[in-house]
Amino acid sequence: MVEGKFLLLPALTLLSASAVLLRKGWRGKQWQHRVMVVAAWLCLVAGAACWSAVEGAEFGITLSLVVWSLLGCLVVALGAKWRPANERTKTRGANGPSALGDTGLGQKTLTFFVAGPLAMVCTALVSIVLVRLLPTSVGGQWVVAAFLFPTLWGITAFWVCASLRFRREALIVTSGGLVSGVCLLLSFFSYVSI
């Protein structure tokens, strides 16, 4: 770590520049805009590097990301436009398209409740089996499992809820859970080693 906090100023400048460049770069598709977008990401990386040089990588990366988020919000707020009340918008009545797709809320909610707990159990089992294949320490495997499990569950829940063929997805999730469960059972009774 570099002594002194003087590098924090360039870090903040780079992070601010990143947000501003993204604002300009995302406005068009010409090559200048693409260059700006690339420069914006480079500024973010350079800002995080500066911060890491002062306070170490752990603080540097974490703080850079949260401060960059706030700076982005600030740039958004500064560029906010006031929309007059009579601005033309497409108006619809009570029978307009639903945000919940073609199926009813009840069925979708049921889908979520079925897929939620089911996906939870299945992804927990799949996570445990998958991490046992990792070439790392046993402790490391459990740590990976602890973060893999909620990630897998979240993605699976989205996948099942977004699907039109809910039964097929439910079957796939259940199969994954069953196969993993069988592997764990066989391991428990020492028939296989995972």
Binding site: S69, V76, C161
Partner: protein, 488 residues
């Protein structure tokens, strides 16, 4: 040409289905998410709330081995039997108070190590419990809250897929005009810019509770049900000590720590297996630039160094897993980091509310759900404020007061059947209650009224009250003129 049309049609299908999933998941966990986000945002300042709740406790930063020994001796005299683990919580910049505790008993300490008041922060504990387990049975509550973390990940993924222009429109914020468009803009902009923070909070939050079921299965299959053995693999085991009984040499331990890790800042010392042959001391300390909650330095009873637990220099996974706590609560890097967490946490709360608001505006009807949602959104801040008053000023248990106030807010909104007026009333009542709380506090704790802590808290409450009082109050949904966005 045909393939382009087919591709576009597929993309539109994905967007539609993702939006559908986003809505279903958001609606199912929306209310809980709001409660968890709001209480979590406040929990960032938990230590400050604890100090504020009990302002008469002695505050100091200096301590030495004699202070610790005196405190431990006083604890043993006050407790009915010696504890298995005897702690001395050391003063830090965040919490300049010293505490002695063991086996569920705890006392604050005077600067000389003598025992003072028992901790009394019922309101902070209620807030913490509300965030961690919703006051449900601990394990069930913890799993439910952590499941919301996993669902937040699902919402993040579905949110990205359901808004193909979310990054292109990342800087468009159109306020005023149609309420629904404004809510959608606020929801989308805060979501996309807070993305790194949201992922961090979702993953770390999901970890706390979901690790329980995972450990149960893994320990059953691979450790013959011995969860301790699994935890030893992850966090490292305790040192094995067997030595004749002797007085604990606290000064020796501090001296050894200064030698092996001069940059470490100790924040508690614990005598493990106190009064037995296998007793040893542990000093938990933070290291500069490290997110790890602590490194545990172990010492024998005579103060000689036994080694550390490897939480800052051991296995990378061990270091990462021990960093989760500070990352989740923003307890690192000083007060300004907490302010950043407060702002981003508040943004998450707004996202939860605006998500439901968008759905309410889109569904085309206006019924008790609108009123109930209004009662929850504006009833929770009021309930927190009233329960703080009851606990800190009147010494009344805060949870029943919180629930009664929340129930009253719900009833009021349901009977009023006018969410706009109800929201205004609840906001102004919250503002009024915060002012009363501040006034009562400076009267009851007259001796502490000029401390930076009191001034800061009163300032924060009055500012919040002012914002709530003067905030423009527009109707959450306008049933007579429902509009859908052209671009979103």
């Amino acid at each position: 040409m045909n393939s382009k049309i087919t591709q576009r049609s597929k993309d539109q299908g994905l967007v539609k289905q993702s939006l559908s999933a986003h809505s279903v998941i958001g609606l199912t966990v929306g209310a809980l998410m709001y409660l968890i986000c709001l209480t979590g945002t406040l929990a960032v300042f938990m230590k400050t709330f604890e100090r504020w709740e009990q302002p008469e406790v002695a505050e100091f930063l200096h301590y030495d081995a004699v202070t610790v020994k005196t405190a431990w001796q006083a604890f043993i005299e006050n407790a009915e039997e010696p504890p298995h683990s005897l702690y001395a919580i050391l003063p830090t910049d965040d919490m300049p108070r010293m505490q002695v505790s063991g086996d569920g008993k705890s006392w604050y300490l005077q600067a000389d190590g003598s025992i003072g008041d028992q901790p009394r922060h019922e309101w902070s504990e209620m807030l913490e419990e509300l965030h961690i387990n919703l006051h449900l049975p601990t394990t069930i509550g913890l799993v439910i809250v952590s499941a919301c973390g996993a669902m937040l990940l699902a919402l993040i993924v579905s949110g990205i897929f359901s808004h193909p222009r979310i990054f292109k429109d990342a800087f468009k914020l159109r306020l005023g005009g149609n309420r629904h468009l404004e809510q959608a803009d606020i929801h989308n902009r805060l979501s996309v810019w807070g993305l790194p923070f949201h992922i961090m909070i979702a993953l770390t939050g999901a970890f706390f509770g979901l690790v329980g079921p995972l450990v149960f299965v893994a320990a059953t299959v691979f450790y013959d049900g011995d969860r301790g053995a699994l935890f030893d693999d992850v966090y490292g085991g305790d040192p094995v000590v067997d030595a004749p009984l002797q007085n604990l040499n606290v000064q020796g331990a501090f001296d050894s720590l200064a030698e092996v890790a001069p940059e470490a800042s100790a924040f508690y010392i614990v005598a493990q297996n106190f009064g037995q042959r296998d007793q040893f001391m542990e000093i938990a300390a933070t290291l500069p630039g490290r997110l790890s909650y602590s490194e545990m330095y172990r010492f024998a009873a005579d103060g000689s160094y036994l080694g550390n637990q490897g939480l800052t220099n051991g296995d990378a996974a061990r270091q990462w897993v021990y960093s989760v706590y500070r990352i989740h609560f923003g307890w690192f890097g000083g007060q300004w980091v907490k302010v950043v967490y407060l702002l981003l946490g508040f943004a998450m709360t707004v996202i939860s509310v605006s998500g439901i608001n968008i759905w309410l505006a889109r569904r085309g009807t206006k019924d008790w759900i609108n009123d109930s949602w209004c009662g929850l959104v504006w009833g929770v801040p009021l309930s927190l404020s009233v329960s703080a008053f009851s606990s800190v000023i009147l010494n009344v248990v805060p949870l029943p007061i919180l629930l009664i106030t929340l129930l009253c807010s719900q009833m009021y909104c349901l009977f009023a059947k006018d969410e706009k007026q109800a929201a205004i009333f609840l906001k102004k009542t919250t503002a009024f209650s915060l002012c009363i709380l501040s006034l009562a506090y400076v009267i009851v704790y007259a001796e502490q009224r000029a401390t930076p802590l009191t001034l800061g808290m009163v300032g924060a409450f009055i500012t919040t009250a002012l914002i709530l009082w003067v905030q423009p109050n527009r109707q959450v949904t306008n049933n007579r003129d429902l509009e859908i966005p052209v671009e979103n």
